[in-house]
């Protein structure tokens, strides 16, 4: 059954019902050339939950886009195969028709209408519903599933926390009265406790008779929720079977579930180049809201320090204060004795503190090498005239910097990709380019904002290796904001936990994991 499945084996309808959604030998290409799906077949039985797993770039989102009719916007097209809802072909229909036929997608990254209120978002979802009665029933069901959406009805959706936005995105899709709900990475960037909630909600929605296709990076959650699962690899179904079978499959365990410790501590440790970062009593207020109150922690030179906590706890705010994007209203941030508070971002960077971003912020059309050279800017002397004229001094300087960039790229495992355009890289590789760019500025401290969000075990292990290598070879310290607990526990020397802008715990990973307060606020029941 496992291993080399035939098309029939892939998620074949079982006793519970016939196939409601059938995908047969589906092929998709982007820009007429890049083959993203190569003959994918799967069936989703009525009232079933099918999980779709796979690495970034394996074709999961492409599969959902093909079903929901939104390939064209990305320059993609179905080049072969069929997609059928019962006996009706969905191929060639526009997204609104498909939604009205009962196949509704919750897009990746939530994408709530942030300027509309919560109630208006739900209403927008309900515009496709058959009649007023259906809309009203859907609305009361959504409010029952997510009471918070009723409480916040008049608030602008953009002001909700990440978890609430995900609930709104799911609620909005339910308003359309779907028969098949397509969920694209609902757990992305959410705290473990919220991920647990989302998993329960998906099961509850399914109990009410909605068929679910769940695309997830969080394989543990997906397999716990789904009855059946398929694994996509380079555009093909590589494994298919019941969730239990897949969860027991050694290959799946290795690549997607992860056994335990990753990023084995490196034997080699370069002398610490970073200096001590002392965050002391920092508070930040936005209007009347306290985003951070009296937060203190210390990042020791050459150590990896993790900052964790629920969505909206103030982690990103904290990074933004450290890198000079936001000003703190009280407290001090000292890096090696220098006060960072009140400095503009470029001044902070000049002191040797560089960062990566939660949403990848690279120049997509430039090559990896050029993106990395950009980070050398502060270290280069040649002006644009001498550089533009290619004077010998400028050429020598450029060559010297290129050599250093190549060294750092090799450390992060990016060397083969140096001459490729960033646009052509997979998501996981782009995140590593961000890390490499931060390192190319020769910092003493890097701030990493969710470096492994949306990555498979395998990719996040590559990232962990990169960070460990940076620490080992370059001797820099790192402050990491991340939700992926396996990752955090694997690389962090020390962990600070925030909740509602306050520090609720600070200690070694093991201490923090046992802390009852942290379990309640963040990790959830059995985490």
């Amino acid at each position: 059954m496992l291993g080399e499945p035939s098309a029939e084996a892939a998620g074949r309808a079982d006793r519970t019902g016939r196939a409601l959604l059938g995908v047969h030998e589906l092929s998709v290409a982007y820009a007429g050339a890049v083959q993203a799906l190569r003959g994918v077949s799967l069936e989703v039985p009525e009232r079933g939950i099918l999980a779709v797993l796979g690495a970034n770039g394996a074709g999961k989102t492409t599969l959902l886009r093909a079903v929901s009719g939104t390939l064209a916007g990305q320059g993609g097209a179905v080049t072969g195969g069929t997609i059928e809802l019962e006996d009706r072909s969905l191929l060639g229909l526009d997204p609104a028709r498909i939604a009205r036929a009962g196949v509704v997608q919750v897009p990746e990254g939530r994408r709530v209408f942030s300027n509309l209120t919560v109630a208006e978002n739900l209403r927008a979802g309900g515009l496709a519903a058959r009649d007023k009665g259906a809309r009203e029933r859907a609305r009361s069901w959504v409010h029952e599933l997510f009471p918070i959406l009723a409480e916040r009805a008049t608030q602008r959706a953009g002001l909700l926390s990440g978890g609430e936005q995900q609930m709104l995105a799911i609620g909005r899709a339910l308003m359309a009265g779907p028969r098949v709900l397509l969920l694209d990475e609902p757990s992305l960037g959410l705290a473990p406790r919220v991920v647990e909630q989302i998993g329960e909600v998906v099961r509850e929605i399914n109990r009410q008779g909605v068929t679910v296709v769940l695309v997830e990076q969080n394989a543990a959650m997906a397999l716990a929720v789904a009855d059946r699962a398929v694994v996509l690899e380079v555009g093909r179904v590589s494994l298919a079977g019941s969730s239990r079978e897949l969860a027991d499959n050694p290959e799946v365990r290795d690549r997607y579930l992860g056994g335990g410790s990753e990023a084995a501590p490196r034997s080699r440790r370069a002398p610490a180049r970073g200096e001590e970062l002392v965050v002391d009593g920092v508070s930040v207020r936005f209007g009347g809201v306290a985003a951070l109150s009296d937060v203190s922690f210390t990042v020791a030179p050459g150590s990896t320090h993790a900052l964790i906590g629920p969505n909206g706890a103030g982690k990103s705010t904290c990074l933004n204060v450290l890198s000079g994007v936001y000003g703190a209203s009280a407290g001090s941030v000292r890096y090696g004795g220098r006060e960072l508070r009140g400095l503009r971002p470029h001044r902070v960077a000049a002191l040797g503190v560089s960062r990566t971003f939660q949403n990848i912020s690279l120049s997509p059309t430039a090559t990896v090498l050029d993106n990395l050279l950009l980070a050398r800017h502060r270290l280069m002397r040649a002006g644009f005239v001498s550089d533009g004229l290619r004077l010998p001094g400028a050429r020598r300087e450029r060559a010297r910097h290129e050599d250093r960039v190549r060294e750092i790229a090799a450390l992060i495992g990016l060397e083969p990709a140096l001459d490729r355009g960033v646009r052509t890289l997979s998501y996981g590789s782009r995140k590593r380019v961000e890390l490499a760019r931060a390192l190319c500025a020769e910092p003493g401290l890097v701030l990493l904002d969710e470096p492994v969000a949306g990555m498979t075990r395998e990719e996040s292990a590559a990232m962990a290796d990169g960070i460990a290598a940076a620490r080992g070879e370059l001797g820099i310290s790192a402050l990491v904001v991340e939700h992926d607990m396996a990752f955090v526990m694997g690389i962090a020397d020390r962990v600070t936990v925030l909740d509602f802008g306050r520090r609720i715990a600070d200690g070694t990973p093991a201490d923090v994991q046992r802390d009852p307060e942290v379990r309640r606020a963040y990790l959830g029941g059995e985490a």
Partner: protein, 296 residues
């Protein structure tokens, strides 16, 4: 002082007409992301139809016909040209509308020739006196009509299903379509509405004190562009405020032309653009525009 108040009131009323045109630009821009340069010629088309028809079928039916023709013309630009290449670069789409504008304007200019076609409005060249200020009746009516239309649109956008669909599509078209919202319909509604608003504006821009429907009216509508820009491109409130500001500034500058003669003749025509540039220097996204916010 009296002159100032007269000019101010005149400016506000002219600004109300600009606001209608500007609102058309903004509605299309929000729904489809296209900056529709053909708005001016559609405006002229509406006025031209009214001017040609009112003798035979009477003013009110002619006005209705003009509005419908302009709405249809606008809708056709979307359905026949824009819709097929919706995903094209926005610059390309804007240039396409510029081409449509030139075609339509050339044909209308050819038809109008050197004639001055009267719009045939029943209020003719009446002048009303408001608290000691003499204002053309057509401008007073224009102000009232603009107020009603703007308010009606604001309410419709806020509370109706159409409005919710429109705002969702404006914010994130792909997600809206995933929720079953038909983007082509939303777009068609926006284009038709913009055409109708343009025709109403055209009707008043060609009424007294203007001479009538001349080929130059299509150009006058371009004065609404600084209104759109300084209002912030994607904000209906901004387009109304922008329209009023531009109306007041251009009327004041024209009225005090002699005092401002050191700036050269015709400063009234340039003034809207000067105001626009000044506003953009202080607020690069316009008065009410969505600022490009990047979360880091």
């Amino acid at each position: 002082m009296n002159q100032f108040v007269t000019l101010l009131v005149g400016g506000v009323l002219l600004g109300a007409i600009y606001a209608l045109v500007a609102l058309g630009f903004v509605t299309i821009f929000r729904a489809t992301g296209v900056f529709n340069f053909a708005q001016g010629s559609v405006l002229l088309l509406g006025a031209y139809v009214i001017g040609r028809l009112h003798d035979s079928i009477g003013f009110w039916p002619a006005a209705g016909a003009g509005i419908i023709v302009a709405a249809l013309a606008s809708l056709l630009i979307d359905a026949l040209l824009i819709r097929r290449i919706r995903r094209a670069d926005l610059g390309t789409l804007a240039i396409l509308t510029l081409g449509v504008d030139i075609l339509l304007l050339t044909e209308l200019t050819r038809r109008i020739g050197t004639d001055v076609v009267s719009i045939g409005a029943p209020w003719g060249s009446d002048v009303v006196e408001l608290a000691g200020i003499r204002v053309p009746a057509s401008r007073v009516i224009a102000g009232g009509v603009a107020l009603v239309l703007v308010a009606a649109l604001a309410v419709a956008v806020k509370v109706t299903d159409w409005g919710v669909a429109m705002r969702s599509a404006a914010e994130d078209g792909e997600t809206a379509s995933l929720m079953g919202i038909r983007l082509n319909r939303v777009a068609a509604g926006a284009w038709a509405l913009a055409g109708a608003f343009a025709a109403v504006a055209g009707l008043f821009l060609t009424s007294f004190p203007a001479a009538g429907v001349t080929a130059g009216v299509g150009i006058v509508a371009l004065a609404a562009i600084p209104a759109v820009v300084l209002g912030g491109f994607d904000s209906p409130e901004g387009s109304v405020v922008g329209g009023l500001v531009i109306g007041v500034v251009s009327v004041l500058c024209a009225g005090y032309q002699d005092e401002l003669s050191f700036l050269g003749r015709g400063i009234g025509t340039v003034a809207p653009f000067v105001v626009m540039l000044l506003v953009l220097l202080v607020r690069p996204s316009g008065l009410f525009g969505t600022r490009e916010v990047t979360r880091v």
